[in-house]
């Protein structure tokens, strides 16, 4: 081919491209289909072949010098179309062609894409890693709106696809995949589940964002990780799951929840985070069924949370619920059964030792006189077991704990879920039922939750979501929580006489009889709510939304306290009295009626211009809430079988009621911008007005700024092959809080009653008085927060690291100002006080595959310390203190100096009172009224700060393994350091002067019966009622390191192979077993779980077996 010809062709090519871009679609291709060619050539260069075709036909080839036409080919065709010939010879050459009329354009497959090419239809099947068809996967041609979704069999078919197009396969929870069509007409894809990757889309305030685009501190948790814990309440499942999220609990009553704090404590008032479900604030995260959760985002710093300005100071938790996908049609059912058993139970001394120690207490308190058997006579103590054998009623030996607590409490749960999705309407309905019994009788927790989420696409411009949910939970309990009384009850008191009648216990304190016969305390909580949202998209990138979300609550409580009479052990007709908690049978009922309505209007605009990406959000939100309470009672029921108000006597009736409301109004705005997905900047502002403040002090503004830099995208970092991703983040912002009563600026007149004589009759008259001192200019509490952090992905993002350091300063803290009691008012609410919280967090996750084993390992740790600043003269005193310079709730008490050993030491030492004796705890004399030690120990002058009470270095870790059908996971969780006080039932003997004696004390307390040497070695003070105040006062004597490591959760699952499942007409069958709270490593006295409060329901281990089937 002559040289000039080539030049011409190259020039023409450029021109032609322009031309064809305009004319594409107009040109007919009849010539190419009607013209048949016969060619027989062996081993010629492609370029030569093309020349021959040009010679034999009117076809003209256009290409540039990048096209490699030197490859040698052979062709043997007779009467074939050009397309067929080119398909053969250009196969595997990387050269694409497009026939437009008589012109044929050749391009490299990676070359110029803007040339319109012949379109095809691509079909294929999408499956998951186990080979199961995956319905609802979105398949789109990249850069276009041309797309479809896979059907129930996982198949898809997408027409009008050019050979150079790239298909984008995406599915929530799976890694998105881009696959070039490259001329293929069949593309099968296996989707891989996404753990927590940088490409993941996470919920942020009023929207979503790619994780890699986020500049604030946002942590995410997949819904599966929540559900996998198999807890009834969501709050419990978060323990140890996310760094910087402190989850604490002190009991494990059926249905019990846990307290959540994000990044420590920011205020003396309410430090609980704001919970947003599907974009709308809700009261309690535990109102959501864990199985309904798609994912959870925790907004930890001001930059991410300040879009929620007003109430976000303590952090925000965003919960997104599961929704149906288009093309989905299935029904799944999950059943699980299990048991709970206490992790630990305290152990007490036996009955003989009990009597000896009880005698010792009286003997000590009476001055150690000659009578060493002041309570239980010697012959009784010496012969008790034989006396007990003769007459167990007169000489009981009751195992109260064994009598009341069962070894195991059963629990079960069932979840039914139906999903159906078409392109227009996608619906998901779930219905769940949970029931947990307690370890003691007459106590159960039941819950029914239902959720119905619908997405409706009306047309290209308009779509809607309509969600509804319902929750009903019922807690039935005996009229009294037995734990405290059960633990202190001593064995010398009878619970039941030998013929089964209720026994006297300790003069009417018989908790066993009370919970068995003493009536009930039942609570019903009903909640109905929903969300209607309309999205209008007038043009691409711009969306207007209107959202209305009501939530209605109806709660009912009924407490029927029955009088339980006990009779004499040898005379069933002789009623000795009634158990001490109810002298008569009484009914108390209450009702609460409440509702909250949230309204939002949002406008969102997204625009990408070249490498500039912009997202703008503006919105308005209104919130109103109303509560009304009603209670009524009657007392002295004659009938004990009818717990209804009408059946009680008219004389003893009571009732009361009250109501309150509050409201917010807010404007919000956000701008997110990034350049090349490399430099990110984001600004938020929110203006909030609250009805809780006077109109002049009502508005607060809460701005924030954050920035991110993806260093790994910079050219100088490209060469570091092990570093896949590195982003540095920084943020600053302010947040608000106003949760302090509903009318704090108003000096309200509170009403009450007093009774007076009128002659010899008695009347009641209403009274009125201002109870609280009011501060009129009370306004927003503000928390300023500063955060720096990084996200890194190493080794192909297999190892992902996240770290943050933050500092939060709360100013104008809203607190009930501690005023002198002599002012005669309750403490007023005021903006005063400062506190500062500093902390850090670190998270690491690694996933990989060895052969057929997929595994992942994760670890998180965080720490914070909250220090009180100037509290405006306010001090919160007690055993835990808040004063300037102290930590939040720092322990405050005496410094101990061992136990007094001798009379002389007692006489010559400062002490708390004249009643102190050898064997009591000795304290250091710190100061006195004149600022120097004054020779006596007093609460005013001798108490000091003893260290923080909050947990430090909270950590969690998890391991996950998958092998063929098996999956295994293990979670550990713990606290690195915590000052914990041993108190109450843990260490005090004979609580209330008659209670039981913890076994840990026996042989380890100071005693007159010990030798001097033995007394030097003991751990616990002497047994005394008089010195109880001295010995168990708050002091460092009782502080231990409460660090613990808990084996939180172990799960093992097995998914049946497809072949078996399909043969029984099912889609998926999985069996699983989960063990929670199995074992703990800690420092606590034997019998005490590190998390349980001393008279709380035990922390329990649970063993659950479940099966999930899907049709």
């Amino acid at each position: 081919m002559p040289f000039y010809d080539q030049i011409l062709k190259k020039m023409k090519l450029t021109l032609l491209l322009l031309l064809l871009t305009v004319l594409s679609g107009i040109a007919a291709d009849t010539y190419s289909q009607s013209t048949k060619l016969t060619l027989k050539l062996e081993n010629v260069r492609i370029e030569d072949l093309l020349s021959q075709i040009e010679d034999k036909s009117e076809f003209r080839f256009f290409y540039n010098e990048e096209i490699d036409l030197d490859k040698k080919v052979s062709v043997n065709s007779s009467d074939e179309t050009l397309v067929n010939i080119l398909d053969k010879i250009l196969n595997n050459t990387g050269i694409r062609y497009e026939v437009i009329g008589r012109q044929v354009i050749l391009t490299n497959s990676s070359g110029i894409a803007s040339v319109s090419q012949q379109s095809k239809t691509v079909t294929g099947k999408v499956t998951d890693s186990s080979g199961e068809p995956l319905p609802g996967v979105t398949v789109v041609v990249k850069g276009t709106t041309n797309g479809t979704i896979t059907g129930a069999d996982g198949n898809y078919s997408l027409g009008n696809i050019t050979a150079d197009a790239t298909l984008l396969f995406s599915f929530v929870g799976m890694k998105s995949q881009e696959i070039p069509v490259a001329g293929k007409t069949g593309i099968n894809v296996t989707m891989v589940e996404e753990t927590i990757g940088l490409e993941e889309v996470v919920a942020i305030g009023y929207g979503t964002a790619k994780k890699s685009d986020i500049t604030g501190a946002v942590a995410t948790l997949q819904g599966d990780a929540v559900a996998e814990r198999r807890t009834t309440q969501v709050s419990q499942a978060l323990q140890g799951a996310i760094s910087g999220v402190m989850v604490t609990r002190d009991n494990n009553t059926p249905g019990s929840s846990a307290t959540i704090n994000i990044r420590g404590i920011t205020t003396i008032g309410d430090s609980s985070p704001l919970i947003i479900m599907d974009g709308v604030p809700i009261n309690n995260i535990n109102d959501i069924n864990p199985n309904d959760i798609q994912d959870i985002s925790v907004l930890k710093d001001a930059a991410s949370a300040s879009i929620y300005g007003s109430r976000a100071a303590a952090g925000v938790i965003l919960v997104t619920t599961k929704r149906a996908k288009a093309g989905e049609l299935n029904l799944s059912y999950n059943a699980e059964y299990g048991v709970e058993t206490p992790t630990q139970l305290p152990v007490y001394v036996d009955v003989i030792r009990y009597m000896q120690i009880a005698n010792e207490l009286r003997w000590n308190d009476n001055g150690n006189t000659s009578d060493e058997y002041p309570l239980y006579a010697k012959d009784i103590v010496d012969n008790y077991m034989s006396l007990n054998a003769e007459n167990p009623d007169l000489y009981p030996n009751t195992d109260w704990v064994g009598l009341i607590l069962e070894k195991y409490a059963p629990k079960q749960s069932h979840t039914l879920s139906i999903s159906a999705g078409t392109k227009a309407i996608r619906s998901k309905l779930t219905l769940a039922y949970d029931k947990t019994d307690a370890l003691y009788m007459n106590h159960t927790y039941e819950r029914i939750t239902s959720r119905f989420n619908n997405d409706i696409t009306i047309n290209k411009f308009l779509s809607a979501t309509l969600d509804m949910y319902f929750k009903r939970s019922i807690r039935e309990q005996p009229s009294l929580d037995p734990m405290y009384n059960m633990l202190i009850a001593a064995p010398v008191y009878a619970a039941e006489w030998s013929d089964g009648r209720v026994a006297e216990g300790k003069t009417g304190n018989n908790i066993y009889g009370q919970i068995k016969y003493g009536g009930f305390r039942n609570n019903w909580y009903n909640q109905v709510g929903g969300k209607l949202s309309l999205d209008f998209t007038p043009f691409d990138g711009f969306k207007l939304s209107a959202i209305l979300s009501p939530n209605l609550g109806f709660d009912k409580a009924k407490n029927f306290q029955k009088k339980v009479s006990y009779t004499d052990w040898e005379d069933p007709t002789s009623i000795l009295g009634t158990l001490e908690w109810a002298k008569t049978t009484n009914l108390y009922e209450s009702r609460n009626d409440n509702y909250q309505v949230t309204t939002q209007f949002l406008a969102n605009y997204t625009k990408t211009i070249k490498e500039h990406n912009l997202n703008i959000l503006a919105g308005y939100e209104n919130y109103y809430s109303y509560y009304e309470n009603l209670s009524a009672s009657r007392e002295q029921y004659d009938l004990e079988a009818f717990p209804y108000l009408d059946l009680g006597p008219l004389t003893y009736r009571g009732n009361s009621g009250n109501a309150y409301e509050n409201a917010y109004r807010s404007w919000l705005g956000r701008v997110m911008y990034n350049y090349q997905s490399k430099y990110f900047i984001q600004g938020n502002i929110r203006f909030d007005a609250s009805s809780r403040f006077h109109t002049d002090y009502r508005w607060g503004s809460f701005p924030s700024l954050s920035a991110g830099w993806v260093i790994s995208e910079e050219s100088f970092m490209k060469d570091i092959s092990w570093l896949s991703f590195l982003k540095l983040r920084g943020s600053w912002g302010t947040l608000g809080n106003e949760r302090i009563g509903n009318y704090p600026y108003q000096a309200t007149i509170a009403f009450s009653d007093a009774i007076f004589h009128q002659g010899s009759t008695v009347v009641a008259s209403q009274t009125a008085a201002q109870w609280q001192y009011a501060i009129r200019d009370i306004s927003w509490e503000k928390t300023e927060s500063f955060d720096v952090g990084f996200d890194a992905g190493l080794f192909d993002n297999k190892l992902r690291l996240t770290g943050d350091y933050y500092r939060k300063t709360t100013k104008d803290m809203l607190l009930a100002l501690e005023i002198p009691d002599y002012m005669g008012f309750s403490n007023p609410d005021q903006n005063t006080g400062k506190m500062e919280t500093k902390g850090w967090e670190f998270e690491a996750n690694y996933n990989n595959r060895i052969g057929q084993v997929n595994y992942s390992v994760g670890f998180n740790i965080s720490d914070f310390k909250s220090t009180m600043g100037d509290l405006g003269g306010t001090e919160f005193l007690g055993d835990q203190i808040k004063i300037k310079g102290s930590e939040f709730n720092e322990w405050y008490g005496y410094i101990s100096d061992g136990l007094f050993q001798t009379e002389e030491e007692v006489t010559t030492s400062p002490k708390t009172s004249e009643s102190v004796r050898p064997g009591d705890v000795k304290y250091k004399d710190i100061s006195g009224p004149d600022g120097v030690p004054d020779g006596s120990i007093t609460p005013e002058y001798d108490r000091v700060l003893l260290g923080g009470s909050l947990p430090r270095y909270m950590y969690g870790a998890n391991i996950r393994l998958e092998y063929k059908g098996f999956d295994f996971s293990m979670v550990i969780q713990g606290v690195g350091k915590q000052n914990v006080r041993l108190e109450g039932l843990m260490v005090q003997p004979l609580m209330e002067n008659w209670g039981h004696v913890p076994k840990i004390l026996d042989g380890n307390f100071w005693s007159m019966y010990n030798t001097q040497e033995e007394n030097l070695m003991v751990k616990y003070p002497r047994i005394s009622q008089t010195s109880r105040g001295n010995n168990f006062a708050m002091s460092d004597y009782w502080l231990i390191n409460g660090a613990y490591l808990r084996l939180k959760n172990i799960s093992l699952g097995y998914t049946l192979p497809k072949s078996i499942v399909q043969s029984i007409k099912m889609n998926n069958v999985r069996f699983y077993a989960t063990i929670s709270d199995l074992y703990t490593f800690d420092n606590f006295p034997k019998g005490w779980d590190p998390e349980v409060s001393s008279s709380g329901y035990p922390i329990t281990s649970s063993f659950i077996f479940g099966v999930a089937v899907k049709f």
């Binding site: 006579a377 309204t599 109103y624 109501a659 002599y822 005669g824």
Partner: protein, 549 residues
Amino acid sequence: MISCTDLDLNPLSEGSSENWYSNETEISMAVNDLYRPVFWPLEDGEWTDDYTRRQALTPITSATINGEWETLQNLWLNSYKTIARANTILLNLDKVSEILPPATIDKFAGNAHFVRAAQYAKLIFYYGDVVFYTNIIDIDEAFTLSRTSKAEVLAAIYADYDAAASKLPIAYGNAENKLATKGAALAMKARIALAMGDWAIARDAAKACMDLGIYELYPDYGELFLAKTKNPKELVFGLPRSKEFGVLWEMVNYYLPRNVGGFGGSIAPSWDLFHSFLCTDGLPIDKSPLYNPQKPFKNRDPRCTATIVEFGTPWLGFIYEPHPDSLKVLNVNTGQRVKNNDTRGNQQYASFNGLVWKKFADESWLPDFKAENDKMFMRYADVLLMYAEAKIELNEIDQSVLDAINKVRARAYKVSYTATSSYPAVGTGSQSQLRTTVRVERRMEFAHEGLRYQDIIRWKIAEKVLNQDIYGMLDVAALRTKIVKPGLWFFPMTPAIDENGSPNLLPMYEAGLIKLLADRQFDASKQYLWPIPTKEILINKNLIQNPGY
């Protein structure tokens, strides 16, 4: 409503203080508030030597009291709440001076003065020098305050009581709420004056109250205290209780025997108290030939068996008998002999010293152990005895002193005080003899009424009586061998009685015939005053704690 809520929300179920105190109803409700039950606690008898609670002690009787004791903190807080509210009323009355008749304004003002005086009186009695103000203070001012001397506060208390006495009515109509009266102001003034040693003021105030001529002693001492006796003429100042309105004396089962479902005298009259009742010849038991320790209820002042249940007598449907061998006892209502749970022979937690309270109790306390007896803060007998005490201390011993004491004593015997042969009338004697007489009389007359603690503090005898230990019966086996068998039941010996009417039980204990229940202690170096609540000291550097705390 849905998209734009009004943010000017006002309390739905409370009033606004902005324009309160604007009419009679509102002020009347504010005045009523000053008499809420929580502001008028009765003193706890357990702080004294009149009580025993098995083997337990209080922070006062174990000398472990400090500024963190809840009772002491509440008393402080509630007193000042009442004072602040009384101040607010007094300072707001000018708002209505135009629209209300002067008599109504006087009634409001008089009550506010009365209540403020009564609360400050309580404060200086317990705490000594206290924070004092009569205005409405703001926070800044509050932190500048320090303790005002007791004398200065006392002068203001007198002034308030005088203002109250001049403004308050002598009595209220039968369709009117009975608030404070002139007589109440005078009598309460006498009480604080007596406590502070202002004998003349006490005498004059008591006399002025007596001279009103409207109070009289209720004829039946035992019946006076029962729930059915509402607002008797003897009641100078008191507030009702009511089951109907839920204002109750709770937990009275602690006082009742086990046979009726009580706790067997878990809180019981002490042996100290029992021994202090005189014999019918007017002599203490160690002097009177009428006293027999084996029949300790015989020949005693009638108030003894009106206060403590006599053994072997019917009580709330059962014969009360703690004797260790009385294993069966008569149910008076059914005529059946039933198991006796009031003897330690059957029941370990029957009364530890054999005694149970009788005063105030009757069948109306059953079956729910809720009582609605009037709360009596000041009754006429007290006025008479205060008058006598003030005059004795002034050494103005005359017939009016003897008459005052004798009126009280004669009522117990249900005779006229002039019928001196029908009861052991008090004759004249030395100041110290009469001092003993009036102290013993008060102890007999006012047992279980919440007045003993003030008395032993005023008389400075707490260090003596509260340093005596608490005793009870021996355990059953020893009781049978050492007491019952030798025929020594109930008391094995007659103790010596001192000038305060207190017995010395130590010899009986040392003889091994009674049991030590608790080691009572009182630290005289500090305990005549309570500590200021710890919190108050710690948040306001201007306040200095009482010595020793």
